[in-house]
Symmetry: C2
Subunit: 221 residues, 2 copies
DNA sequence: CTCGAGCACTTCGTATACGATCTGTAATAC
DNA sequence: GTATTACAGATCGTATACGAAGTGCTCGAG
């Protein structure tokens, strides 16, 4: 974990370090990332830190302004919508492309994770639920043979978890529907359904989460 | 054009310079990008050049190896397939999302570009055809309200043009079919067709180009 | 009391310098 | 003649240093 990374550069070290902190919300949205203190804390110069921050910027986890500096990306409502929309698009495709490669062992594992999610519905814990949710989908999209699409999925998830811990906490009814939709997706894959059908099921699953969030948000106003 | 960019940083200057050269194929695939000579040519130090190269790496235009350096990305056959597949995915979505915002003036302009492509079929020039092709699609996807998806489309196009000038040169029959499919897409948008229908038409249009390329490639072996 | 101009501080952007790593070549042992 | 090793050149990775740009505060005028 914290073992000295012998063969990775300092830039990479700084990148992982910052990524970790942002994902854990230790650096919340809007937090200013000043080069010097970070470099000091990590025992390196500002140059690798700067490069790490530019990478994080490219991934959308931080915003950057010339001659002003970087800060952890703030979640605009529309930003959330766009990210979810994009993730639905690429994750649906990744899931569909992965389907032919999935073994029944994979599917059993996904089903088992989904069962744990179902059991969690009673003693609801948004964080655990989100973790399991990611595990479930990971099983289904990781075998995606197209590395670009897979990378986009990773970035989408990364941005979401860096930005908003759990949509489920805000939308009570959504967790249950989510579990049911997982079941449907698994069935489609087991049946060897059409690629497009699987893609749309996975896509709409995510977009429904988005819609539910927006509806709940609307109701609160 | 070559006016001194007063308010953009040197890093940005280097980025545009390299991007331009790669797009124009002045630096072909596999060409080694050594920091010092580039910095020298641009009249700056290696630091901004390094940053520019890392950005290009993130966009997939160059490959990078630690302690070895960067070189212009080589086009693997599978790399081409994956890029086209991804572009079809995101461009289809972008086109579909743009459709409601398109004015009839936009559609007329696209139709006009497509007519010029049709006229070009006789005295065929792969390069001009490719340029018009990009113009045509640009009209249809630029109004996309989701900036992430739009950005992915730009990156896809950028990577393709940086990598392979024209698919049409290799696949004789494809250009004509392409023009006809453009017509279909325009009709769908004019009719106010379902978003999904438009998306799939635009997606399949690109994927057919990919299939045609693969078939021609296969036949050549 | 409010607003604007000037100044000081903070932070970034880039240049230069040096140490680390890799690649290719030439010499030597077998 | 071939394989292994040692060395030299090239190139990158990072540290340090300095100049540029931005931000906020203070002071003075109205």
């Amino acid at each position: 974990m914290s073992a000295a990374p012998a063969e990775v550069g300092k830039s990479e070290t700084a990148y992982r370090w910052l990524h970790e902190r942002i994902s854990r919300h230790e650096y919340g949205p809007g937090y200013r990332l000043v080069l010097a203190p970070i470099a000091d804390e990590l025992g390196m110069s500002v140059v690798p830190v700067r490069e790490a921050i530019r990478r994080l910027e490219a991934e959308g986890l931080v915003t950057f302004e010339r001659n002003v500096g970087a800060r952890v990306a703030v979640v605009d409502e529309s930003e959330y919508v766009h990210t979810m929309q994009t993730l639905g698009l690429v994750e649906g495709a990744a899931t569909s492309l992965s389907a032919p490669s999935l073994t029944s062992a994979d599917l059993d594992r996904a089903a088992e994770v989904n069962d744990r999610m179902r059991h969690l519905l009673d003693h609801f814990d948004a964080h655990s639920f989100t973790v399991l949710n990611q595990q479930f989908h990971s099983v289904l999209f990781e075998p995606c043979p197209n590395p670009h699409i897979l990378d986009l999925v990773h970035r989408g998830w990364s941005r979401l978890s860096g930005i908003r811990d759990s949509t489920f906490a805000f939308v009570p009814g959504r967790a249950q529907h989510s579990v049911e939709e997982h079941e449907v997706i698994l069935d489609l894959i087991r049946q060897g359904a059409d690629a497009l059908e699987i893609e749309l099921a996975a896509r709409n699953h995510r977009w429904k989460t988005l819609d539910a969030y927006l509806a709940a948000r609307q109701a609160a106003h």
